[in-house]
């Protein structure tokens, strides 16, 4: 029997809508959901290769409890009953002895994050965190400081933009199908692209202007762009007068940051900086200084991200077609959003978090996400309190938090490590108990609320029965909660009941998703009135260049530019990025994807390589203060000479994932654990490495 199931992909975090064709309980093909505007059947290589994941024998197949030393990968297969009994008993003992705050729960943000938050609140621990600080924490903080909204509540109109400036957001490799399709369409219609990155990418090859900027100097470039704009009156003065708080202070502040100064710092000719400022002004307001995705580069990340948004505001491009817009919630059209379990009246927890977010020491990062990279330090120092147990849900701290050796050492101090995962990930291999989750094709998930110009809801629907003895995350969490005596906060037996609970009051039911896989609250894109209707959430209800949030916490709104230290002689700045064939650390063992891209290489500038006697294709040793590894060199003049580059997420250490075991080198092994103390992101590009021929 053949049927089509509308669902949501999870081969990466974009969550593209898909149509899954199923024949006799086997997935035969996956394509983009043809009913969704901007998707129209499109998929990517990762999404298509999900069938490789479904049928993989090298993924987690049943619950396991460790039977050898930690990390030995010696396991005992157990029943779900036994696994959950084991975990709940251990957690209860830990709570009794050390309090619930000694338990930490870390996850990659996912559709069921509202359940994990509920679970942690129910057992009385403040220590829930997501991966966000390793991804874009400072962008979140930057947007709150300017608009009162987080970055996820804003997006860009790729289809109608006239000129986009992109800082290292590798749109065509770190692929968001809708954005890529919309923007290739815009380029074909004559839109312009200025791309700024120390390394050439596919996105750079589509640019009309490319600047190989000296790494870490983007803030200097932006200060000079702002200088030029305000000096020459290139900004949208009507918009600025209406919405911007602190324009005169900014004008005063950027006075010394001339294009000539920025040329010295960044290597970009002053005349070109001036030309870009004028061009953007000529096309305003349909221009975008792109603020996505990853915002985890340098310790001053929040100020660089603020400067991008300040440029958008100066162009008047915020809340306009072809510019940046605020995503609208269903409330905007009188609708009710889906309910989330953590909206219940759960008990308040008056304890500090393990990462100290929300205390005077670390006041501004978003406590809803926390700061993941603080975990190793918090465990090692038992500060602010001892941590005894960790649950990791679809999150691999050993490959994602910088300085993996330190992370491993810290985790080993815990009495209990539990992984809820689909892969034989590094953290699964280092856990005491493994609870295998069904993959996205085998499970139904919580409602995916999608705010935007048109608010919508999507549903991930089970397409086939689980291949192995696995369960969906929401059921695992509910059963664990029941065993721990807090099951009352999980009012469902099946996923369908959870969905109906979420949809109650929205006017939609689960069957409304049958025909197209999604529902919409309205037909027409919603833009707020630019003269009077911007619903800003800052205390002043304006775009706060002078930010009350920053200044009340004791931070400056416009900090002076401090150059980063340059790499010493013989060293390079390590930067990392993504490929179109893999998602972070999750897909390297996929049969199809590993065949296309089995390992990472290190990009070395040709002149630098010549000096070191390294030839293209040579094996080299790359070493930092934290670790070292052997990797193949790619010698090229497509990268800034101060820099070397490698793809994130390789060098896995779990031998049960045979295809990805020890393939390439893990960036987390090399990187130092450095944080933007204001914004909360970790600063990935601060590590210097040495390259030597083997």
């Amino acid at each position: 029997m053949r049927k089509d199931v509308y669902s949501i992909c999870l081969m990466c975090s974009m969550r593209c809508p898909i149509k899954v064709t199923v024949k006799n309980d086997q997935v035969v093909r996956i394509e983009g959901n043809p009913h969704v505007p901007g998707i129209e059947g499109s998929i990517c290589a990762k999404g298509a290769a999900a069938i490789g994941l479904l049928n993989d024998t090298e993924r987690l197949q049943y619950p396991m409890v460790r039977s050898g030393p930690r990390g030995s990968n010696r396991w005992r297969r157990v029943s779900w009953q036994e696994a959950l009994d084991y975990v709940s008993r251990k957690l209860e003992r830990i709570i009794e002895k050390d309090g619930a705050q000694s338990i930490v729960f870390g996850e990659r943000w996912n559709l069921s994050t509202h359940l994990s938050r509920t679970f942690m609140k129910a057992i009385g621990s403040p220590n829930h965190f997501t991966h966000d600080s390793l991804c874009k924490g400072s962008m979140n903080t930057a947007c709150r400081s300017l608009f009162g909204y987080i970055d996820e509540q804003m997006f860009m109109d790729y289809a109608n933009v006239r000129h986009m400036v992109i800082y290292g957001r590798n749109l065509f490799e770190s692929l968001d199908i809708r954005a890529a399709k919309a923007f290739t369409g815009a380029l074909a219609k004559g839109a312009k692209l200025t791309y700024i990155d120390p390394k050439v990418t596919v996105t750079a090859t589509k640019a009309h202007r490319y600047w190989m900027i000296r790494p870490g100097t983007d803030l200097a470039l932006n200060y000079a762009l702002i200088h030029t704009i305000l000096n020459e009156g290139l900004h949208d003065s009507v918009y600025a007068k209406r919405w911007i708080l602190g324009l005169e202070e900014l004008r005063e502040f950027v006075r010394p940051y001339t294009p000539e100064w920025a040329e010295e710092v960044s290597g970009i000719p002053a005349a070109e900086i001036v030309a870009l400022a004028r061009e953007m002004s000529g096309d305003k307001p349909r221009v975008v200084f792109n603020f996505g995705f990853r915002a985890t580069n340098y310790p001053d990340e929040i100020y660089f991200r603020r400067s991008i948004m300040i440029l958008n505001a100066l162009m008047g491009s915020i809340e306009t077609p072809g510019g940046v817009f605020f995503k609208k919630s269903p409330v905007e059209v009188g609708g009710q959003p889906p309910r989330e379990l953590n909206n219940q009246q759960l008990p308040d927890i008056d304890l500090p978090r393990f990462d100290r977010v929300g205390t005077p020491e670390f006041p501004l990062p978003d406590p809803r996400t926390g700061v993941a990279q603080m975990l190793p330090r918090a465990i090692m120092d038992s500060n602010p309190f001892p941590l005894k147990a960790a649950i990791f849900y679809r999150f691999d701290p050993l490959c994602s938090i910088m300085d993996s050796r330190q992370t491993r050492k810290a985790l080993d101090k815990l009495d209990l490590i539990v992984s809820i995962d689909i892969n034989h990930s590094d953290i699964a291999g280092f856990s005491d108990v493994v609870l295998p989750e069904s993959i996205f094709l085998e499970r139904t998930d919580s409602i995916f609320r999608v705010d935007g110009l048109i608010p919508q809801m999507f549903l991930r629907r089970q397409a086939v029965t689980p291949r192995y003895d696995t369960k969906s995350g929401p059921i695992i969490l509910k059963e664990l909660a029941q065993k721990m005596g807090v099951g009352q906060w999980f009012p469902y037996e099946t996923m369908e009941e959870l969905i109906e609970w979420q949809l109650a009051g929205t006017g939609f039911t689960i069957t409304d998703f049958n025909t197209k896989g999604f529902v919409t609250y309205t037909d027409k894109p919603i833009f707020w009135d630019r003269e009077n209707g911007l619903d800003l959430k800052t205390p002043s209800r304006r775009i706060e260049f002078i930010s009350s949030m920053l200044e009340n916490a004791g931070f400056e709104s416009f900090p002076e530019y401090h150059p980063l230290p340059s790499p010493p002689d013989g060293y390079f700045r390590l930067i990392c990025g993504r490929s179109v064939f893999h998602c972070n650390v999750a897909t390297q063992n996929n049969r199809y994807l590993s065949h296309v891209l089995p390992e990472n290489e290190i990009w070395v500038n040709r002149k630098a390589a010549d000096g070191l006697g390294i030839h293209d294709g040579d094996m080299v040793t790359v070493s930092s203060s934290r670790g070292k590894g052997r990797i193949k060199a790619f010698v090229t003049d497509m990268i800034h000479p101060e820099t070397v580059f490698m793809l994130h997420g390789f060098g896995h250490q779990n031998p049960l994932a045979v295809r990805s075991y020890k393939k390439g080198v893990s960036d987390a092994l090399l990187q130092e654990n450095v944080t933007d103390k204001v914004g909360g992101s970790h600063a990935l590009n601060t590590t210097f490495v040495k390259i030597q021929p083997v």
Binding site: A49, E173, A275
Partner: protein
């Protein structure tokens, strides 16, 4: 040649390999055979901008296909109604003569079946009005497919649109120096 044409807009191609992957999945084959292939050219500097090109290559479905001529079991066939060259799998004995004969490397070896496998323009799909999988899956819409008569008109039209866009934005002369001159 077949009655169809598969057109690639090279400006829109981002080399993401979706066409290749979806093709393998739809055919239910292992990762190794590449029935279509995106050939990367570059990276190279063109004045001040880096350029890389991604060229889509699949079977040409030749007028006089050598693969058909050499096949000893008549597994390799040319469809009469539209010229699609395809393999009838049951007849293939895995002798590899077609792989040897084709100057373009179109027939591929499937290690799981021990037989040859090649692009058939997803004839089962096009026969029911669907697009070949490489075309339908493309994230940027850089591939299009249709009857050769219609496609040549479409090429002319898109060329015209392309020139019009250049006229409007000056995108064709966007090296940094030239922009500086124009604006300054």
């Amino acid at each position: 040649m077949s009655a169809y044409y598969l057109l690639q807009d090279i400006d829109k191609c981002i080399g993401c390999g979706t066409c290749e992957m979806q093709c393998k999945i739809n055919k239910g084959i292992s990762p190794e055979p590449r029935l279509c292939k995106v050939v990367s050219i570059g990276l190279k500097w063109v004045e001040t901008v880096p350029r890389g090109y991604y060229v889509f290559m699949n079977c040409f479905h030749c007028e006089n296909p050598l693969c058909v001529a050499v096949c000893p079991t008549h597994a390799m066939q040319k469809r009469e109604k539209d010229g699609i060259v395809f393999i009838e799998e049951d007849r293939c004995v895995g002798c590899k003569l077609c792989i040897h004969a084709c100057p373009w490397g179109a027939p591929q070896w499937n290690p799981e079946t021990g037989k040859a496998v090649k692009c058939d323009l997803c004839k089962d799909r096009i026969d029911v009005g669907l697009l070949p999988d490489c075309v339908g899956a493309c994230p940027t819409g850089c591939l299009s497919f249709g009857n050769i008569d219609r496609m040549s008109a479409s090429i002319r039209f898109s060329h015209k649109a392309h020139l019009a866009a250049r006229e409007k934005t000056g995108a064709a002369s966007c090296t940094p120096e030239k922009i500086g001159d124009r604006v300054g």
